[in-house]
């Protein structure tokens, strides 16, 4: 777990163009963020490049980060994921690599370790519980897209169906997930 206050502090310093702060941020988070990028682009060369693009963006946009709107780790992860998705679109090599036997993070969210669940706490517990209420296809589609960067076309190939069906699964999955998470938020 990365101490939230410490990350906010480092982002504030980055906003003031303190390069040492960016370096500290990099030292703390680059192995995790590189993993996030690697899961999507499936190449060490590309994930390293994505990481470079992400940290340049973090440096340039640190002043836009709002601690009251999102957790720092979410902001940083989102930047990295979006840059990885951009790179994927640029390389147009995603589909070809689908069959490669590369070690990726599990697409089954329920397989997360108890330690990891403890780290993310209640919110992760809620998400995992809500994911379990989805049917297996929707759940797998969401996690494969989010963790591994599968497109609708990739998913349609994987499930031997058409893109509209995938859109429908994602749409219904998101609706069900939102209802479940909203309900849990209200109870809390």
């Amino acid at each position: 777990m990365h101490d939230q206050d410490a990350l906010i502090d480092l982002l504030a310093r980055c906003a003031l163009k303190d390069q040492q702060a960016l370096k500290q941020l990099y030292e703390r988070l680059s192995p995790y963020l590189n993993r996030v990028a690697f899961n999507i682009v499936r190449s060490d060369d590309l994930s390293n490049e994505v990481l470079q693009e992400a940290f340049v963006q973090i440096w340039n946009n640190a002043g836009d980060y709002r601690p009251d709107k999102s957790k720092p780790i979410t902001w940083l992860t989102s930047i990295t994921r979006y840059r990885a998705l951009d790179r994927l679109a640029k390389e147009k090599r995603h589909s070809e690599n689908r069959s490669e036997n590369i070690e990726l993070d599990s697409v089954h969210a329920e397989n997360s370790s108890p330690e990891d669940k403890a780290v993310h706490g209640q919110q992760q517990g809620d998400l995992l519980a809500c994911m379990k209420t989805l049917n297996e296809r929707a759940r797998t589609c969401i996690t494969m897209a989010y963790i591994q960067g599968y497109s609708r076309d990739d998913l349609a190939n994987k499930f031997n169906t058409n893109v509209n069906t995938i859109k429908s699964w994602l749409h219904r999955g998101s609706k069900r997930l939102k209802e479940c998470l909203d309900q849990k938020t209200q109870i809390a």
Partner: protein, 248 residues
């Protein structure tokens, strides 16, 4: 809410979800990003999904980047900064011929030159714990002024975006009290060249108690009635960064 508004809201939520999950690609993704820039509620939906789905990530799983990757990042950052420096004479030349661009150009120079970094070193901000941060934004969500404050230094560091003043005007920074909701002045600021504010004990207490900070434009010398004018430039929540109470 009408039926069509309901449908739009549902479509937006579904699009926000697909944007975050990553299945919105190509032109649909670009169009959605353009829409998001103008639609605060859409931005909120995206942030909400980002926060929720973030829990699918496992922060303990790592993959070490190559050893030279940090150097590559440093090079890219410093190259950008250097090219900004090289563009200075051109901008200064324009400044000479187009004096009415003075304020804007100075702001651009401020944004890109290394003064802020020098300030960090000269004032020792890099070694000090930052206690509070506020990013003040305009009505349309653009950052106008970022401020960080350190209790140990009794200082506030400022980073300005594009802000203009008439010759007979000053900026004034205000704190909205968390305790009683009153608005009190922290400082009158002559112009956006000001990068550091020395805080008195009383001013530091205002920062500590602030729910949010406001930046207004006032007549030269500051508000004569000690209340903010209607000319509000920007506002932003004042966020405490450290857990330890630094009440020294």
């Amino acid at each position: 809410m009408s039926g069509s508004e309901n449908a739009n809201s549902l479509n937006n939520d579904s699009a926000a979800f697909e944007y975050v999950v990553g299945t919105l690609r190509g032109k649909a993704r670009t169009d959605f990003e353009a829409l998001m820039r103008q639609n605060e509620s859409l931005r909120f939906q995206v942030s909400e999904w980002e926060e929720r789905l973030m829990n699918l990530n496992t922060t303990e799983l790592t993959r070490t980047p190559t050893k030279d990757n940090w150097s590559a990042i440093e090079n890219r950052i410093n190259t950008t900064a250097q090219s900004s420096h090289q563009s200075k004479p051109g901008l200064l030349a324009r400044l000479f011929w187009l004096p009415w661009l003075l304020t804007g150009v100075m702001t651009v120079l401020l944004m890109f030159n290394s003064t802020l970094f020098q300030t960090d070193q000269e004032n020792g901000i890099g070694k000090l714990p930052i206690d509070y941060m506020a990013v003040m934004t305009t009505n349309d969500g653009k950052a106008a002024l970022s401020a960080v404050a350190s209790g140990d230094a009794r200082r506030m560091w400022l980073r300005w975006e594009d802000n203009r003043l008439e010759a007979d005007q000053d900026f004034q920074l205000w704190a909205v009290s968390r305790s009683d909701g009153e608005i009190r002045s922290i400082s009158v600021i002559a112009n956006s060249d000001t990068e550091v504010l020395e805080l008195s004990e009383a001013e530091w207490r205002l920062v500590k108690d602030a729910d949010s900070l406001l930046l207004t434009v006032e007549d030269e010398g500051g508000s004569p009635i000690d209340e903010p004018s209607d000319n509000l430039v920007a506002k932003g929540l004042c966020v405490r960064l450290t857990r330890t109470d630094r009440d020294v």
